[in-house]
Symmetry: D2
Subunit: 292 residues, 4 copies
């Protein structure tokens, strides 16, 4: 596995952006592995993701020195300032630290943990948080510390205070709500902007709120869906990362929808987490750019 760096940029669109970023990387000898751009012409915005190798290359006389990341960062900062860029530079050696939250349903949790164990999700998982004890054995099996934090609408303030304590102690970068059935307060959400991923068991914006499979059954839809999204202050309204659907028929009762939906939930949530961890997602205007 090579060590790589990823630069994510968004800024007002103008001529020469690709030339200037690519030019600076070339100057520093970067061996670009992937580069992708996007422009929102309506809003005049530019987005870019570029990934390059940090390792030196082998030559006749031995290995070349690796990429000078500190130097590049120093040279890039004034360019970014001049062009009014938001930017984020990540390196693959610093694995993001992820907290997994769940309640009593464990299908997404079991799926994420298995993917993590087999190397599909490149991150640390220093803690699992739940308001149920159902996940305790699973956490133990995967060797992840488990924090039981009681939570109800009435106790939310207290529970969130304890949760935030844990997240800070564990230096968490990303919170994943793997069918966590409690609403987060705006204050909590504000602490982790574009860093809390939730899975909602419907094809948003259809069937927001509670019991979406019941609502889908009542409406008689022919496809059910699931959606992974960043959490914002407004319930089920944050930037959508991924969606998928499955065909159903008149034969399917609510419990069949629930069962099929579990497969969709696993897929859309695990994809969202993987894309976030590989620095593929940019948010703007309550939407996402997902570089593939």
């Amino acid at each position: 596995m090579k060590d790589t760096a990823v630069l994510l940029i968004d800024c007002p669109d103008r001529k020469g952006l690709v030339a200037r970023v690519a030019g600076l990387l070339y100057e520093y000898g970067a061996n670009i592995l992937h580069a992708d751009q996007h422009q929102d012409h309506e809003q005049g915005l530019f987005f870019m993701r570029v990934e390059w190798s940090l390792n030196g290359e082998k030559s006749g006389s031995g290995e070349m020195p690796g990429f000078d990341l500190a130097g590049f960062r120093k040279a890039f900062a004034p360019l970014a300032a001049e062009l009014a860029m938001h930017w984020k530079l990540s390196v693959s050696t610093e694995r993001p630290r992820v907290a997994l939250f769940c309640s009593q349903y464990l299908h997404c949790m079991a799926d994420l943990l298995h993917r993590w164990r087999t190397g599909e999700l490149e991150c640390e998982i220093p803690v699992i948080v739940s308001n149920h004890r159902a996940v305790e054995n699973l956490a133990a099996f995967y060797g992840v510390p488990f924090e039981y934090i009681e939570n109800t609408a009435a106790k939310r303030a207290e529970a969130e205070a304890r949760q935030l304590e844990v997240l800070e102690a564990k230096r968490i970068d990303l919170v994943v709500l793997a069918r966590y059935m409690q609403v987060l307060s705006p204050a909590f959400v504000e602490r982790y902007p574009a860093a809390i991923i939730n899975v909602h068991h419907s094809f948003l914006p259809a069937f927001t709120g509670a019991k979406p499979y019941h609502a889908a059954h009542a409406r008689g839809v022919k496809l059910i869906g699931a959606t992974s999204h960043y959490v914002t202050e407004v319930l089920d309204d944050g930037p959508i990362i991924e969606q998928d659907v499955a065909r159903i028929s008149h034969r399917d009762q609510v419990e069949d929808l629930v069962a099929r939906g579990r497969d969709l939930e696993r897929l859309v949530l695990s994809r969202a987490v993987r894309w976030h961890l590989s620095q593929r997602i940019l948010c703007y205007s309550n939407k996402t750019v997902v570089f593939d």
Copy 2:
């Protein structure tokens, strides 16, 4: 092509329904080609579709006489009454008469007409109705009489009166709204219960009303959809017949959504019409049973 009959039944569920219907058909010597049932256990309802051949079979001494449809109908009526059945008996030789409505966008219309010409839709199409002249050449190419009926919100009453006149004169069984952009009045809808099929360019119940592709783009969904449904009094709320979706990305602008959506609209509308014509759809509780 064999001549066939289709019997569609819905009634309160009780023991022995399949046995009694199948028994009577057996008594009359029916050669059953397809039979399908469905039960809604929650609501205690039973649904059945059975299709059989009307032609006599070849034996050593020549062809047997065909199925005695009149006799069967007479024998079935009291059974149906006893069991509180709604039922409909159709024969393939009596092709349903379909009116196609459209406005300025012709992709669904061109698609339906081509499918009809090649035998995929087994019906008569005695008339195309539009509030635009755009469809006139296409109608002429396929040899279908065209009725231009001006329509706007202001003139709706007058326009609908004329439309109903045409539909009656042509003895229409099914009205297909192939991207017809005018709202129908409750009075009009009432005249054709479960006999007006519309295509809506979103994944209902998301994005009802006007400009669904704009709404989908604004919300940042990752899949767009289209829905065919029976028209009821409430806009975009009737029983859903078919839905399909296509994946989009941040690169897709509204006009890309519109273009991709056209393919979805063609597919879900043509499937709905085909299933309706082959007597595969039953409506209840604002939903559909679609026998496959």
Copy 3:
């Protein structure tokens, strides 16, 4: 959960089959929950699945006695003989006994075990068999006895003898090959006709044999697939139960195909097992009828 019985039938097609089966069930007072039929007109074959309740119903004066299964079986046997039926009568209280086989890749295994634990797969799993020790911890976590049986092409006879011993000792009804990477001998396959389910990581019949993702990458396909099927003597050629596909692009390398393929493999294998366990599958002419 109600106790139910399922009757699966295949036989030469003739008039009155539905009437006679439904009639006999009616006579015995069966409360039919689902009934489905299929006819292969080309081959003149008839297939039927019917499911009914075994519990008595509540009436004014208490609960009625349950369905007389022994009596029905006795009455049905001569009818079945007369009509040259193959048939199978299963009851939900007798849960099938399933052996899971795997090698070093555990994604399907972990998925099946989690589904089993949460009640999605209604069966017993008395044993996990593997030629690797990788699965041992997972088996222990789910409390399933693990049998390590060394296997290679050279040792196949010996290994299979031991495997068959285990399967018999555990009274196994169904063998599931959850990415088991050894070929089974014809003799082994013959012992479990239509009772060994395999998952192949391609869209069969494309890319049979080893390394299908490499082959798919080399051919430049735009969709990859996975297939679950019953195992027959001919490699990757048995009756297909389920298939699914995922879209890929030129950006995807072989390892991306492998990663996406894992999701497809989990889905098609778990569906196949679930359908088999709920008695939904009939095999004929190297194909399957899957009643939904």
Copy 4:
């Protein structure tokens, strides 16, 4: 509609390619609308598509002069030579000239012509060629000259000579085989490298050759597919452009597969043609890069 230019490049991968191309475009003042790159690390190849506006921009003192295309071309040529690039520079004002070929089945032809009429396919269609007269009326309706050229295996040489005459007289850039049921000779194919698009009615590489729906039915697959690809000397073996699939069941007979397949064929062929016309496709190693 803006006038745009598209530059397609493939070359050996090396550092600085993006920087140098983007740098030159910046120097000439290009307003880049879309840019996309791809690297095949295994084969050490680099691919790029970049699209920019040719129109001048409005400023305070009137419109700026447009992009200096001739100057850019002159400056780019030596750079391309130095970097061993294959490249193609296209402008949207020079619409490609497309010949459509078909035999007796017209669903793809009708679909392509309707899409062309409504502006979805940006090209000229100076001729329709067929070995059947079935398409004649349709060609007339859309105002496209029709050439009837008799063809059979026996007469192929003569037929192809006549076809090539027509293609040259009409200055054809792209040949689209819209269910054209005759095999092309290697000599014919050689004249239009990566410029003949065919649709095959299966999920390649499964079911090459004649009657793929029959083969799919016989094998009992659960999904059918269609594939659009560039034609090469080897039948059904050229670089795949697009594929799609549809779910089928045991209920579907060959004629149902044929009917559903028509929808797939229309979709995959029209997408391939649209992508080719918008200069999104590069071929290498018998595969395609399709920039989205």
